[in-house]
């Protein structure tokens, strides 16, 4: 697996601004080991665990979380810290998808419009952040509240037409795995490979590592912020499409359940919330591991309350590791 990513230089060292070096092997090995141990323990406890049914259960769970995690990772990598408007970014295009399908809009146009509305959502966040010079966390928290409130005014429950192509796609398989899993894999691999290999990706990471130094090198911070939030919004649009494809019925507040797993996946993948460091390819491991946890717990006979406890614990451990990394980097 390619694990090259950008390591932004410590502050005050613009000479190393665009220097790339291998990063993330340690994290990759740690998460992969944890995942393997989880699978092994679950299989030893119950031989049924090692089955195609389990693989399907885990891969379905991975799909939406993984796509949203890519958008969140881009924001984190660029120093935006977090985009907390994910629930609205997910449900808004999902709702649009159902409305367009109800009006028999062709599937290709539905896909494009869902991605477009996701991009517009990201642009709205970026506009408020850039022109208001405001903290992205506060802004996205506020836009999420406002967006959800607006969605509640528009609809109480949405249904994806059963016979629509998108719904059929959401139920289907390719190579024995869910159709909706593949866009997530392609997105993570493509974005993960492009970031350290393109000028845009390197600039984005550089802004996250040291905004002042990046600015001194002529990188436009507002333009970067716009690009990152629009890209995050597009990921929300794609996730919304997948959500509509795999959920025949949903209400406006059903996006909230994804926020915690997405944040946990990003942090567990070693993507620094302070920006400038991380390898998006590791999301495949972190999302896979986190999606296996609830399935394993069921095999161990633990109920959903324990699943939330475990997710919270994993998040605390991941944040602690991230904090340790930050302190080590400063030392």
């Amino acid at each position: 697996m390619t694990t090259t990513s950008l390591q932004a230089p410590p502050s005050g060292r613009p000479d190393g601004l665009l220097r790339a070096r291998p990063d993330g092997w340690g994290t990759a090995v740690t998460v992969a080991l944890a995942w393997l141990i989880l699978i092994a323990a679950s299989s030893l406890h119950s031989s049924d665990f090692f089955s195609h049914q389990t693989v399907l259960a885990v891969t379905f769970t991975m799909a939406i979380t993984g796509v949203l995690a890519v958008g969140e990772s881009l924001v984190a990598l660029s120093g935006g810290i977090l985009d907390l408007s994910l629930p609205t970014a997910l449900v808004l295009p999902a709702y649009l998808t159902t409305v367009l399908l109800d009006h028999h809009v062709p599937t290709a146009a539905v896909v494009l419009l869902a991605l477009l509305v996701g991009a517009l959502w990201g642009a709205l966040n970026a506009t408020i952040i850039v022109f208001g010079k405001l903290n992205p966390i506060i802004v996205t928290l506020a836009t999420n509240f406002a967006g959800l409130a607006a969605l509640f005014l528009i609809f109480q429950a949405a249904q994806t037409p059963q016979a629509s192509g998108i719904r059929q796609f959401g139920k289907g398989y390719f190579l024995g795995l869910p159709n909706i899993w593949w866009p997530m894999v392609v997105l993570i691999v493509v974005v993960g490979l492009l970031i350290p290999r393109t000028r845009y990706g390197r600039r984005m990471t550089a802004v996250g590592g040291n905004a002042g130094a990046a600015k001194a090198r002529g990188i436009s911070l507002p333009r970067t912020r716009y690009a990152v939030f629009i890209a995050s919004g597009v990921c929300g649009g794609l996730a919304g499409l997948i959500f509509a494809a795999s959920n025949a019925s949903f209400t406006p507040n059903e996006g909230a359940a994804f926020l915690l797993p997405v944040l946990a996946a990003v942090i567990l993948a070693g993507i620094s919330l302070q920006g400038g460091r991380g390898n998006l390819l590791l999301l495949l491991l972190s999302v896979g591991f986190l999606s296996t946890v609830p399935t394993s717990l069921v095999f161990f006979g633990l109920n959903s309350d324990w699943q939330i406890v475990f997710q919270g614990l994993i998040l605390i451990i991941a944040v602690s590791i991230d904090g340790h990394r930050q302190r080590s980097a400063r030392a």
Binding site: Y173, N247, A248, S249, N303, S304
Partner: protein
């Protein structure tokens, strides 16, 4: 140097103007009937209605719509406030009702922790209060018989299991919504009881619960995991707190390629009508929650207006009005009109006609 002389003054004036404009707009948009007089000589009441106010729950708004129409029919005054699913708001609304000197209050408060405080204030003001589905000492209790609703659904599902599989069932999934507390226990427990009344020999270890939170998107992954943990199960039944929880499990089975091995029966009727009904959802139980005001007006408020207030019955076991559920198969559900149509029909229904009479296929034919 900055000018500071006129700026704040203008801002204050602007603020006053905006506030005044907003007040006028709110007053224009606000509810409240001003009609007076009653044709039958009984007292003209002013009713305070506190709707639940959860934005994703259409029946909560519908309860207000029906109550408003019924008050208008009687020439009564009507004041509607929203609890916004929020305890402090619910408490503040009670203060408003007391200030407005309403004659009776109808409450759906989804945050019942503050009900005792609200009850104390309303009792001090001597305002009779009706509560929907959540019991409070001293308030008339109007509610669905959740246990009967569960048992009816479970029995109907059991009949299907008996005819299709001779009750030889491998797995019974139960989509719980623990946050609903006793309502969850009554509904899902009732469904299991109803199922056992038809298929008593399903072993207890075949019953597996998962948390659905009453949402498809929560139920679906949880049910996926539960199904994955029972790969040998080929004859699967699903019961649950509501249609969303059950449909989440049905969709999970679809995703795992096991759609033809599963049958579900829901509660609340929210996903059993329309063009996108899951083909494996065999039926559901309607409560017609929007019709609660019909019972409230006819069995409680009309009597209060006539000076013959009924005795306060404030528990689920001995309620002032116990509303009977309406189990429907998927085929029967097609005859039940949607919520907005039901609200319209209830608003103009003659006295004595309940939602069961009007909409329940088993009773209305």
């Amino acid at each position: 140097m900055r000018r500071v002389g006129r700026g704040p003054g203008r801002r204050v004036l602007s603020l006053v103007a905006v506030t005044a404009a907003a007040s006028v707009t709110l007053a224009a948009c606000g509810g409240g009937s001003t009609s007076s007089g009653s044709s039958d000589g009984s007292k003209t009441l002013t009713i305070g209605m506190a709707v639940g106010g959860q934005p994703d729950v259409d029946w909560q708004k519908a309860q207000g719509d029906v109550a408003r129409a019924l008050a208008k029919q009687r020439g009564w005054n009507y004041i509607e406030l929203s609890n916004n699913g929020d305890a402090p708001t619910a408490t503040k609304n009670v203060d408003t009702f007391i200030q407005k000197k309403v004659d009776a209050v109808i409450e759906f408060n989804g945050q019942p922790s503050v009900n005792p405080v609200m009850a104390k204030k309303l009792a001090a003001a001597k305002i009779p209060t009706i509560t929907y589905d959540i019991a409070q000492q001293g308030w008339y209790f109007v509610g669905i018989d959740n246990k009967a609703a569960g048992e009816a659904g479970g029995k109907a599902l059991g009949e299907i299991a008996k005819s299709k599989w001779n009750c030889d069932v491998d797995l019974v999934l139960s989509a719980e919504g623990k946050a609903a507390g006793p309502v969850n226990e009554a509904r899902t427990g009732g469904m299991r009881t109803g199922l056992k009344s038809v298929c008593p020999d399903i072993p207890s270890d075949k019953y597996v619960s998962f948390e659905s939170n009453g949402q498809v998107s929560v139920a679906q992954p949880a049910a996926r995991d539960a199904l994955a943990a029972h790969p040998q199960a080929k004859k699967i039944l699903v019961v649950g707190i509501n249609d969303s929880g059950v449909v989440g499990a049905l969709q999970a089975a679809e995703q795992l390629g096991r759609a033809d091995q599963i049958i579900g029966w829901g509660q609340d009727g929210s996903l059993i009508t329309g063009a996108n009904v899951n083909p494996h959802l065999a039926g559901s139980v309607f409560y017609f929650l929007e019709s609660y005001p019909t019972y409230t007006f006819e069995q409680i408020l009309d009597k209060i207006a006539a000076g013959q207030a009924p005795p306060v019955k404030d528990t689920g076991e001995d309620p002032a009005v116990k509303i009977q559920p309406c189990p429907v198969s998927a085929a029967e559900a097609a005859k039940v009109p949607g919520t907005s149509e039901r609200v319209a029909q209830l608003a103009k229904a003659p006295k004595g006609k309940t939602a069961l009479d009007l909409f329940c296929p088993a009773q209305s034919g």
